[in-house]
C-alpha cells in the first residue's frame, strides 16, 4: 500500500512536469510569434500642413536646459497568496504590476516679447534710453527627439505617457524659475542692444 502511494505520487509529479513543459512550450511559441523584434520601421512620406503663421518679435537671451526623470508605477493590490502559482509573478516583479519611466530633456528660454509692445527710445547727444518690458519665459521646449523611454513594463495608454510628458515640462519650467534667470536675461539684453547701438553713446535700459 505504501509503495502504491509512492508510485501514485511519482506518476502525479511526472504528469505535472509534462503539463508544465507543454504549457511552457505553448507560451514560448506564442511569445516568439507575437514578439516584435527591434523593428527598423520607416514612416511614410506625408505632407506638412501649415496651420498658422504668426509674425512675432522675441529676443531670447538666456537658455536653460534641464533633464528630468518622470515615473508612474502601479502595484499589485491585495495580499500575496503563495498557494496560487499565478501570484508568484508578484515576487519576481517585486510587487510592481507595471511601470513607465521617461527621461526628458527640455529647454526654457527667457527674453523679451516685443510682439505686442514696442521698444520706446529716448535719445540725447551722449545717451540712449531704452524702455523695455520685463523679460519673461518665451519658450518651454520639449520634443520626441529629447525624450527617452527608460523603462516600460506592462501596457500603457497614450494618455498616461502624455500626462508624464506634461509633468516633465512643468517640472523643467519650475526648475528654471527657481534659478531666477530674470537678472541674467537683463544683463544679456544689455549686451545685445549695446551691439546694435553702433556708436559710443551710453546705453541705459529701464524695465517697465
Amino acid at each position: 500500500m505504501y509503495s502504491n502511494r509512492i508510485k501514485n505520487r511519482i506518476r502525479l509529479a511526472k504528469n505535472l512536469l509534462v503539463l508544465s513543459a507543454m504549457v511552457a512550450l505553448v507560451v514560448i511559441i506564442w511569445r516568439t510569434c507575437s514578439k516584435e523584434e527591434e523593428s527598423n520601421f520607416q514612416i511614410d512620406d506625408t505632407p506638412l500642413h501649415v496651420e498658422s503663421i504668426r509674425t512675432i518679435a522675441e529676443i531670447s537671451t538666456v537658455s536653460y536646459k534641464d533633464q528630468v526623470v518622470v515615473d508612474t508605477v502601479e502595484y499589485f493590490k491585495g495580499d500575496l497568496n503563495l498557494y496560487d502559482p499565478l501570484e508568484w509573478e508578484r515576487i519576481y516583479k517585486r510587487n510592481i504590476k507595471r511601470r513607465l519611466t521617461l527621461i526628458i530633456e527640455g529647454e526654457v528660454r527667457y527674453g523679451l516679447d516685443l510682439t505686442k509692445s514696442i521698444i520706446k527710445q529716448k535719445q540725447s547727444n551722449d545717451t540712449v534710453f531704452l524702455y523695455l518690458p520685463e523679460p519673461v519665459v518665451l519658450d518651454v521646449m520639449v520634443s520626441p527627439s529629447k525624450t527617452e523611454i527608460f523603462q516600460e513594463t506592462g501596457t500603457w495608454s497614450d494618455i498616461a505617457r502624455v500626462k508624464l510628458e506634461l509633468k516633465a515640462k512643468k517640472l523643467i519650467q519650475q526648475n528654471a524659475e527657481e534659478v531666477h534667470l530674470n537678472e541674467k536675461a537683463k544683463k544679456n539684453l544689455y549686451s545685445v542692444f549695446r551691439k546694435l547701438i553702433a556708436d559710443d553713446r551710453k546705453l541705459i535700459i529701464h524695465y517697465e
Partner: protein
C-alpha cells in the same frame, strides 16, 4: 517534507515583500545648463503632420498587420542669431546705417505632447500593439521629417522679411533716415 518546503517559500516571500514594500524613490538629478544666447525670432509657424506607418512583418510566422496614424503639431520659430553679428557688420555713415545680418535659421522647435494624438491603430493576427517606446520612435521620425520639409513652407522668406522690418523700425527710431539691411550669402535652401 512538503510542509518544510512551504515554510521556506513563505519565509522567502515575506523577506521579498518586506524589501519591496517600500516604494522606490527615483533619484532627482541635478543636471542643468544655463547659456547666454542672443536670438531674434520674427516668425512662428504652427505645423500639423499626420505620421503614417504600415509595419509589415518580415518573418513568415508573424501573421497580421500593424498600422498606425498619429497626428502631431509642432511650433517652429525662425529668426537670426544676433551673436553672429560682428562690429564690422554694422556700418554707419551719417544718417545712414548698413547692417549685414547672418542667415535666418530655425531657432526653436517644440512638439507639445498635448497635441500628439493617435488617430488610428490597427493590429491584427499575432502582432503586438505598439508600445510607448515604439510610438516615441515614430514621433522622432516625424520630428525629423518636419524639420527636413520645413524649408518648403516659406518660413525662411517670412523670417527674413520680418527681421528686416523689425530692425528697420528699431534703427529709424534711433534717428537714422536710411536703413540698409543685407543678409550674408544665402544657402540653396532659401
Amino acid at each position: 517534507m512538503i510542509v518544510k518546503i512551504q515554510i521556506l517559500l513563505l519565509l522567502g516571500a515575506i523577506l521579498n515583500l518586506i524589501s519591496c514594500s517600500n516604494k522606490e524613490e527615483l533619484p532627482t538629478p541635478d543636471v542643468h545648463e544655463i547659456r547666454k544666447i542672443g536670438v531674434l525670432s520674427t516668425t512662428e509657424y504652427t505645423i500639423g503632420k499626420i505620421i503614417k506607418l504600415d509595419d509589415k512583418a518580415e518573418e513568415w510566422y508573424k501573421y497580421g498587420d500593424r498600422k498606425i496614424l498619429i497626428h502631431c503639431r509642432a511650433k517652429i520659430k525662425a529668426g537670426i542669431d544676433l551673436d553672429k553679428i560682428e562690429k564690422e557688420d554694422i556700418v554707419v555713415e551719417g544718417d545712414q546705417i548698413e547692417i549685414t545680418l547672418p542667415e535666418v535659421e530655425i531657432v526653436s522647435f517644440e512638439m507639445d505632447p498635448k497635441h500628439v494624438r493617435t488617430e488610428v491603430e490597427n493590429i491584427t493576427g499575432f502582432r503586438d500593439r505598439f508600445t510607448q517606446e515604439e510610438k516615441n520612435k515614430i514621433l522622432k521620425q516625424g520630428e525629423k521629417a518636419i524639420l527636413k520639409d520645413i524649408e518648403k513652407t516659406g518660413i525662411y522668406k517670412d523670417a527674413q522679411k520680418n527681421t528686416a522690418a523689425f530692425l528697420e523700425d528699431f534703427f529709424k527710431e534711433q534717428g537714422y533716415k536710411e536703413v540698409i539691411i543685407n543678409y550674408v550669402q544665402q544657402s540653396d535652401k532659401k
